[in-house]
Amino acid sequence: MSAALASTPSDAVRPTSFGLLGSPNAGKTTLFNALTGLRARVGNYPGVTVERREGSIALGDRTAQLIDLPGTYGLEPISADEAIVGDVLEGRVEGIDRPDGLIVVADACSLPRTLPFIGEAIRMGQPTLVVLTMLDELAARGGSVDLARLEDSLGVPVVGVVGHRGRGMDQLRAKLADPLSWSRPAVPPPEERLERAGWAASIAEHVISQMPVRHALTERVDRIVLHPLWGSLLFLFVMVTFFQLIFSWAAPAMDAIDGMIGQLSALARATLPAGWMADLAADGLIAGLGSVVIFLPQIVLLFSLLYLLEDLGYMARAAFVIDRVMGRIGLEGRSFVALLSSYACAVPGIMATRTIPSPRDRLVTILVAPLMTCSARLPVYALLISAFVPESKVLGPIGLQGLVLLALYLAGAVAALIVAGLLKKTLVPGDGLPFAMELPTYRVPTFSLWLSQVWGSAWSFLRRVGTIILAVTIVLWLLLSFPNVEPPVGADERTAAAHALEHSYAGRMGHFIEPVIEPLGFDWKIGVGLVASLAAREVIVATLAQIYATGGDEDAGLRASLRADRHPETGSPIYTPATVASLLVFFVFALQCMSTLAIMRRETNSWRWPAFAFGYLLGLAWIASFVTYRVVGALAPGDWVS
């Protein structure tokens, strides 16, 4: 990643670089995108987990570099993530040149708050320019700031912009062409905090003729959204809609994709010469990539809703409402939003933890995100529940099958909260950072921006998850297909396939781990499935189908095969209620997803935490399965009723 961020090879002179500063919610990201045209290079700073973004600004015949520094409210850091800002500004970070100029982005509506921050930036010594954003909102709220007076008082250039409409952008670009021409104050702003506050207050008095009143629309809407009763109901409504989207609305598209994958696979078999090439293409590549693409409708819908709520300004309200519950376990409201996103897929959920300022809170949220019941668990749950849980009704019209599914979903969330609480008490204690969150005014989301956010995230998901699944699928296919053994004499195609599987490397691995999984009620066949599913959960369904040599994965055939399976020696059923319960519980806990591990590595900037997550979740899975197996085994008989 860092290779991509090395200084661009220059002809004679290194291009001018600017550092972009500002508080969160000031419109810094919008400005960054407007200046660099959405071609940001993303990476990491050494030693911290905060995201590093850089881009190029086209300035006529030249280009300049723009470093988007993490949003802060002041330059005196309160965490390692914030310290990186000062480090970059003073040129202390290896590989990043000290910026030649600073651009401080400030929301015009809250200028009195930001003035001391502007003072700190000017004190850093580089040519500094102030960009005042949200001027349209300031006017709408009846506020008034004299930009010329501000420029005089500060002694540095001030440019007013209305971000997405592009007003002021030309003026800004003209300024960026020559930072050395920017005016500098004769006397630097005070160093001491209290003095600086006084300095800021006197400037505010001089340049602000009218402070804005509260945003009318925001006030009216918040009366409902933050109302004890209506706000809570709205919150629940949003949650329910979330899940509806993920499950029901995505279904038609998913079915269509499923059909296309099947056709593509058949096409590959038909056109390629029979043998390992056709097998690899059909069962390996196409099926593997297909298993990623099939989640795309859900992912796109999820991102669409998340970004819509975020851009509107609702997400901060959701965090505000739920913060007390999260605070009880040592986290905060924004963790909830990230964990909620994990319900479709942990990958975007973990990416959403970027909004959490505290590095430790972010880490704990990342570590428990895999416990949230992601969509990949659904095929596994669906198979086992439809095969083994009776269709009886409980409490009137409520079906037992649906109830079990709901219980599994809730179990994930409850486990996540409990584990988060434990982690915060033991391994990752709080860093003593204060909780403070701005509630931005409600805004009509910019369609093009929303579209680019959704597209960017969906593409990033596809590329990241896609490459991993592709690699893993190939490896798995190899393990399942080799070594080639002679089928027993007179065996039909299906029996031959099952035989081949048992003697494949994967099959041998299944036998190898059998002693460890036997206490959980699993046999070697389930073992093979578990080994396969370590890469991606849903793979177990296809693997079991292959083991039992049935036609498809959701055929009645596989379910019947599972129900009919017997121990070779004792003749008792393999899938007893205890085994099924134990297997379901195993999937609630275990981290079986290479993509999640990869995104964890990316977001925590090390392999230590993904390894820890994999280990502790595997341990939890084993213990929980063990307990479940014993308890259910004691309560329920070995045979299924009905």
């Binding site: 802060t72 809250s110 708050r113 506050a197 009143v213 933050l226 505000f320 403070a436 701005e438």
Partner: protein, 103 residues
């Protein structure tokens, strides 16, 4: 603007977490000298600044405040660090006051 009445009466050390919804007060100082006090200062909680308590979250915490033209959520523990006093009648006539509408 009518003079504010603090239902939590008593002279001196009143903190922001004790102020009821709908009331406005002025910041006196921030107690302590650590990361939290620095952050509160960065957020605009400085001597003389007017801050209005808008509402508490449905579950009781955090609380939503308005100051310096923006809205901020703080938990009880952080708000407890902010020493406040009733708004003086001088500031009531200041034309540049944030004319926050009464809900």
């Amino acid at each position: 603007m009518s003079p504010n009445e603090n239902h939590d009466s008593g002279a001196g050390a009143e903190t922001l977490d004790q102020i009821s919804s709908g009331l406005s007060v002025a910041v006196v100082s921030i107690s302590g000298n650590d990361a939290i006090s620095r952050r509160l200062d960065d957020l605009g909680l400085r001597a003389g600044v007017e801050i209005e308590v808008i509402r508490r979250a449905p579950l009781g915490d955090p609380t939503l405040f308005e100051l310096c033209g923006y809205q901020l959520c703080l938990r009880r523990s952080e708000a407890g660090r902010v020493r406040v006093k009733p708004l003086s009648s001088d500031s009531a006539t200041d034309p540049r006051e944030s004319g926050s509408a009464r809900s």
